[in-house]
């Protein structure tokens, strides 16, 4: 009975969505003339990023600079999620000693493979977030790649432990770097997150002013936070 009702509901929702998206043609150009006197937001970004921000990857310019407050909020959401998970799954000292990490017995092949792959994965991740303003990718993507490397180590080595103290330091300092670079803009440019793009030239590693620095800080923060979340979520098995 419930199934029938749910399917009817889904059909209605699907009909409305389909009806709406029929009126939004796929692949239509909605940006308009990018050099118009008052272009749309997308047109403005396309025509101005090269000169005003000196960043090759327009998406990075949007994420870190034009809509930087969103990204600050996003970093905060991730930070709060890791804080919230730590509070939800909090264990007192004596319980902490009774639990261990969930891990399957891993063979020598997996362990040696993980040991070989981990530095390569970490290097790739760091490469991705350092080049966030030049190539596809950036702090969030690179941070996630680094965290995958840590995940590989966490599930293949029982004895592999992350250093919580060091992680807290990196997390806090990376977050504070983001904010204080923003405040630098507030002092120098009179607007929060204001950029200083005069440095470097387009398509070189040193370009875009504060944007790459902020994205590198985001990369560190994301890597550490995701690793912390995975560490907490994996550590659930009661010790025999």
């Amino acid at each position: 009975m419930k199934k029938v009702l749910v399917i009817i509901l889904l059909v209605i929702i699907g009909y409305f969505l389909a009806n709406t998206f029929i009126n939004i043609p796929f692949g239509e150009n909605r940006i308009g003339d990018i050099n118009a006197e008052k272009p749309t937001a997308a047109g403005y970004y396309l025509s101005n990023t090269k000169e005003k921000s000196k960043v090759a990857n327009i998406i990075t310019a949007i994420v870190v600079n034009y809509r930087g407050l969103d990204t600050l909020g996003e970093v905060t959401v991730l930070f709060l999620a890791s804080t919230g998970i730590a509070s939800v799954l909090y264990r007192r000292k004596e319980e902490e000693e009774e639990t261990e990490r969930l891990s399957l017995p891993s063979s020598t092949i997996i362990r040696s493979g993980a040991r070989v792959l981990f530095p390569i994965i970490a290097l790739l991740g760091i490469y991705v977030f350092i080049h966030g303003h030049l190539t596809p990718g950036g702090g969030f993507q690179g941070g996630t790649i680094v965290a995958t490397g840590f995940l590989l180590m966490l599930i293949s080595y029982k004895g592999f432990n992350t250093n919580h103290n060091r992680m807290t330091w990196i997390e806090s300092l990376a977050g504070l770097t983001f904010i204080f670079l923003g405040i630098w803009g507030l002092i120098a440019d009179n607007t929060f997150l204001g950029n200083i793009p005069e440095v470097g030239k387009l398509n070189s590693l040193l370009s875009g002013g504060l944007i790459p620095i902020i994205y590198i800080a985001v990369g560190f923060k994301v890597a550490v936070e995701l690793t912390g979340i995975l560490d907490i979520l994996l550590k659930i098995k009661p010790k025999k």
């Binding site: 409305f16 009806n19 709406t20 009126n23 939004i24 909605r30 940006i31 308009g32 749309t40 937001a41 997308a42 403005y44 970004y45 600079n65 034009y66 809509r67 930087g68 407050l69 969103d70 600050l72 909020g73 996003e74 905060t76 959401v77 930070f79 709060l80 999620a81 804080t83 919230g84 998970i85 730590a86 509070s87 939800v88 909090y90 007192r92 807290t168 330091w169 997390e171 806090s172 300092l173 977050g175 504070l176 904010i179 923003g182 405040i183 803009g185 507030l186 440019d189 009179n190 607007t191 929060f192 997150l193 204001g194 950029n195």
Partner: protein, 497 residues
Amino acid sequence: MVITPIHYIVVPLIAAFAIPLLSKIHKELFRIVPGIVMFYNIIISFVLMKEVNEVGYISEIIAGWEAPWGINLMITPFSGFLASLISVLGFLIWLYQYRFKKVIDVDEIKSYGILQMMMITGAIGIIITGDIFNLFVFMEIVAITAVSLTSFYRGRDGAEAGFKYLLIGGFASALILLAILILYTQVGTLNMAEIAEKMHTIPLGIKSTILILFIVGFGIEAEMFPLNGWAPDAYSQAPGPTSAAFAGIVVKAGIYGLIRVIYTLFDIEGAFDFLIIAGLVTMIIAEFSAVKQKNLKRMLAYSSIGQMGLVLIAFGIGTKTAVFAALFLMFNHAIIKSLLFMTGSILMYNSKDKTISSIHGIAKNLPFVSIMFAIGAFAIVGLPPFSGFWSKLYVLTAAADKEMIMLIIAILGVSIVEIVYYFRVVNKLYFATDIEHLDIFKPSNNSLIAMGILTITIIVIGFYPDLITGYLHNAADILLDRSSYIDFVLKANVPIQ
């Protein structure tokens, strides 16, 4: 240093990122730092409110990109009023909980302080932002912190209430995201003023789809029927200060989102009638459910939902008096319901099974808390001379101006129901003598001061409503003036020096 709206967001964020480091220096810092931040929020509110009452609007652009292209923060008398209200309440809630759970581990409390502070920051962010996607981001900050705080206690069914909240909240955020997506394809911008300006170009069919998605999404946060299933569980399972913060702060942010969308973004007339009907159904069902409750915090939660219904009705009437009355109601609900949750959770702390029948006659042992609970109860049902009386009177006046007789009858009828269940509790507190209370938990002095400030505010506003009605009239005027908001953001924005 000049105080600008961005301080509302930057200062708490610095504190949140720094608290894990600071608590390595001294154990007491992670309790004190949120308090300093909350107090600084009050200073910001004071300065900005003074400024905004002279100039009308304050707009601050982020990263130096002007309004339709970058994100801007807007302070109007309306949003400034709500932001100040939230700042003051946030500080009082911090004061109330300062010595909260002194006994348990440091680490656990550390995350509690951060989460509580960021929930308040997220709510302020929802209110001051001028960009629809930014609003979504702040809503997610509020949702994640609220869920974590709801499931903070491990002894209770917090995780269950939290999961329920998360599921419904996740659904709401998906709907809002979908609405933003469709809106973006139609107008090509995310700035609220520019969306409002281009709203008339959207075909009616798509426009109403977007509006429905927004209303359902924000309605969940604003406890609108039938989307409020999460509220009673979350309120009753959360720690006491958090329940007060839910009633005073989170719900206000949800209502703000709803009102900003309907009043500023859209120009569909039918939405106002919809608000009246939704509010009426919400109010009637919630108040009748409140009568049946045995758990005091659940009863207060249902009463809170009912009050939100009344606010929606007042916003739905849509005249200047009605908007003014709605703002007055929001103000009263924030201070009175916070007081009720603060006192109520101390009363509940002394009961064995969290029911009303186990706190009979506790007034003898907790005289101050009981009298403040009673004052709050009298104020919320709208007895003179307390502040709740005036707001209810103004709602009735607004309804009478538009000759909505049935509405008046419904509001008065529901008030009688309210009187029944609140007076029952107050009566049992004072005159039932069937239980002996031993081993009473006394609230600490800072909690008493926080509750005392709220009580005094209720009484003072009751005798001198003129103290705030000036601000509220101003705020109502600005909220109804849709075109000046658009003009200000799109034409005359300059960074504040």
